[in-house]
């Protein structure tokens, strides 16, 4: 082989993680470890009503009887659940009345992340809720949203201010019994975001949450609940980053979406948790349960995700297509580099008549990573005239990584149509050379080809996220062809 090819394979994988800084800020921790007292501590910190404490304790008891799922392709040493903090809050966070009271260091962190919390600086018209470790530190544009009756606040506030809505919908999509990680979340979730869009309202701006794990040895368990009432519409964006640390950090979030009759929810995620270094040290374990319920007729839920971070990604944003004529979409780009492991996909559960679902998954693997698409399409016997289209494409950038596609298809009536297409390809020397011959350097060539590969999904992202996502793709793949 020629000289320049040797150079390629020797290229070290420079860590491109630009969000790996840590903010030195005084934090308030729960005692290390997990027991009933931890659950009580968290609930007490948040002055929660008794019903919610009981709900948490039920979940905790349930969790004790469960065991970690082992059916996925991800492998990791046993997690010591007693060796983590389950609550960490920047000190004095409870007293915040306005953004002016937020610790300047925190604001600095958010500025580094590119999230200007101050409303006057934010021209793009995106309302932001930022969750730092376990607590929500500020929601912008709250007043403007209130005019339309839109509720966008931290989960803790929602528990205080809108207990009826929380009582009605919390756990109604992902019950406390659902799975090991979501049950754990139900017991110890600390904060998150809450959204309610009243009937007939088209949310006037994109709603956005940024999650940040900062404190060492801290798990993050946030809970997001989005309710779109009849004939309403909301587009919700979520971004995540974490500092670089040698140890693994556990992130087990739960997201529940409820779309009532005629409502539409568009949920976009750019997940860039710290992925670990080139030796596989550190990185976030991301075990996330995301599920949307198209509860009403003619409702629609659309998941779009760009996953470039985390040492382990285990998530399957799903849609329950309960209402007649409801539809679900899943658009995903999952990038894995170095020793990252991705096992991700979706579940489309067709229950109502004339329901439709569409799955477009793009997996890109490089380094020594493994990248699995795992998806279920289930069409129930009474779900007449329903249809699904699935397309799963994998792109491999070298010979040391792996890509798998594992589709489960259950179609229980003859009137429904399920289509599945899958491709797997390696980035070709010919494509790279062609681009380079036209003047693009190697990184630009890879970026161009990968962005082309992901185009169908990138197009689904809201504009400001699409730009960020493209940049993130390029950064995640730097020096990755061998």
């Amino acid at each position: 082989m020629s000289e320049s090819q040797d150079k390629l394979s020797e290229k070290d994988f420079k860590d491109p993680y630009e969000f790996g800084f840590e903010t030195d800020i005084e934090s308030d921790f729960a005692p290390k470890g997990l027991n009933e007292d931890t659950v009580r501590f968290i609930s007490n910190k948040k002055n929660e009503p008794k019903w919610l404490l009981d709900w948490r304790l039920d979940a905790y008891k349930r969790w004790l009887t469960m065991s970690e799922p082992d059916w996925s392709s991800v492998r990791y040493p046993p997690i010591d659940y007693q060796d983590s903090y389950y609550y960490s809050a920047p000190k004095d966070s409870e007293k915040l009345d306005s953004l002016d009271d937020v610790d300047p260091k925190l604001l600095e962190t958010y500025n580094k992340l590119g999230i200007p919390l101050k409303e006057q600086e934010w021209l793009a018209g995106v309302a932001v809720d930022a969750v730092f470790d376990s607590v929500s530190v500020g929601t912008t544009f709250k007043e403007r949203l209130k005019e339309d009756g839109v509720i966008f606040c931290s989960f803790s506030e929602a528990v205080k201010d809108y207990p009826e809505l929380i009582k009605k919908y919390l756990g109604s999509v992902v019950p406390t019994t659902d799975n090991y990680f979501s049950t754990l979340n139900s017991a110890v979730f600390s904060d998150g975001s809450f959204v309610y869009i009243p009937p007939g309202v088209r949310c006037p701006m994109e709603l956005s949450t940024y999650f940040r794990i900062n404190a060492a040895g801290t798990g993050q368990f946030e809970r997001t609940l989005v309710i779109a009432d009849k004939d309403s519409y909301v587009s919700y964006l979520e971004g995540c980053t974490a500092p670089m640390r040698d140890e693994h950090q556990l992130h087990a979030a739960v997201v529940e979406l409820v779309a009532l009759e005629g409502a539409e929810i568009k949920y976009s995620t750019v997940q860039n948790w710290y992925p670990g270094d080139e030796e596989g040290r550190g990185g976030v374990y991301n075990f996330v349960t995301k599920r949307g319920d198209c509860r009403g007729d003619n409702s629609k839920i659309s998941w779009t995700q760009v996953e470039t971070g985390s040492a382990i990604t285990w998530k399957y944003p799903s849609c329950i297509l309960r209402g007649n004529n409801s539809s679900g979409e899943f658009y995903s780009i999952a990038v894995s580099n170095n020793y990252q492991q991705v096992d991700s996909g979706t579940k489309m559960i067709h229950l109502g008549n004339n329901t439709s679902s569409r799955i477009i998954s793009k997996g890109i693997s490089t380094g020594k990573s493994s990248n699995t698409y795992r998806g279920l399409v289930s069409i129930h016997p009474k779900s007449r005239n329903s249809r699904n289209f699935t397309q799963c494409d994998s792109l491999l950038l070298n010979d040391n990584c792996s890509a798998n596609t594992i589709p489960y298809i259950e179609s229980k009536n003859s009137e429904s149509i399920v289509e599945h297409e899958a491709t797997s390809s390696k980035i070709s020397e010919e494509q790279l050379f062609y681009c380079q011959q036209r003047g693009l350097d190697e990184e630009e060539a890879i970026s161009l080809i990968v962005n082309g590969f992901c185009k169908d999904v990138l197009q689904k992202l809201p504009m400001e996220f699409a730009v960020e996502a493209q940049k993130l793709l390029s950064v995640s793949l730097e020096g990755s062809v061998g």
Partner: protein, 251 residues
């Protein structure tokens, strides 16, 4: 000796097999050279080596381009210095639109020359003009690069990139193959029309027909990795009539 393109005693191997064997070639500014040879004589290897493709081991010799050692430059650096290869088999790049690709390439070349990216309006005007010359419908510019293009459409698209990037050295690797009679004339004539004193061409072909429309200054007979005879256009006519027998017999 000139200071444009200078190939001296070049030998190159692919997987231990000697493909280019002690090749010498000088191309001066404004000259058109044709390399003719039978299948498997190493013509495409020569174009790949000039463009800097991986997978070739240069065992001896030098390639000098405008005073620089070409071998020390990466493919993109060669492109940005004005070397353009019209591919024999252009590749498909799904999801990347033709027009965006050409814009990216052009801006990259311009950047090297210290120029700002071409303004969208100016770019559009230019590409529409060049497309028109080549008879390329505008909707093809919006399609994904080479995806689902017929062989002829791909070749026409290579010619479009050639006209857009306007390189100082164009290497045409069997650009005539895959084109039907009408397309062939359009492509050949449009390439011929950009001949000037500042840009040179290296035309790699089996047949004389392209050379009837782009008359070369020099014709080289290329067999087993080296030039065994050079002459003017009459050499191409002779090959057209008699084939390569005379040259292969010599070997």
């Amino acid at each position: 000796m000139n200071n444009f393109l200078n190939i001296q005693s070049l030998s190159a191997k692919v997987e231990d097999k000697l493909i280019i064997n002690n090749l010498n070639l000088n191309v001066d500014k404004g000259e058109v050279h044709a390399i003719m040879g039978p299948n498997g004589s190493g013509k495409s290897t020569l174009s790949n080596v000039l463009a800097g493709k991986d997978g070739y081991e240069i065992t001896s010799g030098t390639i000098n381009f405008c005073g620089e050692d070409l071998m020390s430059l990466k493919p993109n650096e060669r492109s940005n210095r004005g070397i353009f290869l019209a591919f024999q088999y252009p590749v498909e790049i799904p999801g990347v639109t033709n027009i965006n690709f050409i814009k990216t390439a052009l801006d990259s070349n311009r950047k090297h020359r210290g120029l700002d990216p071409l303004k969208p309006g100016d770019f559009l005007k230019l590409i529409k003009e060049k497309s028109k010359i080549l008879g390329i419908p505008e909707d093809r510019l919006k399609r994904q690069l080479n995806v689902g293009f017929s062989g002829g459409e791909k070749k026409r698209n290579e010619a479009l990139q050639l006209l857009m990037l306007d390189p100082s050295l164009a290497i045409l690797d069997e650009t005539d193959s895959g084109l039907d009679v009408d397309a062939f004339k359009i492509v050949a004539d449009s390439i011929n029309s950009r001949r000037n004193n500042d840009s040179s061409m290296l035309i790699i072909t089996h047949y004389q027909r392209l050379l009837e429309r782009i008359e070369p200054d020099f014709v080289h007979v290329f067999i087993n990795g080296s030039i065994i005879e050079s002459g003017g256009p009459e050499l191409a006519s002779e090959i057209e009539s008699n084939g390569y027998e005379r040259f292969t017999d010599v070997k």
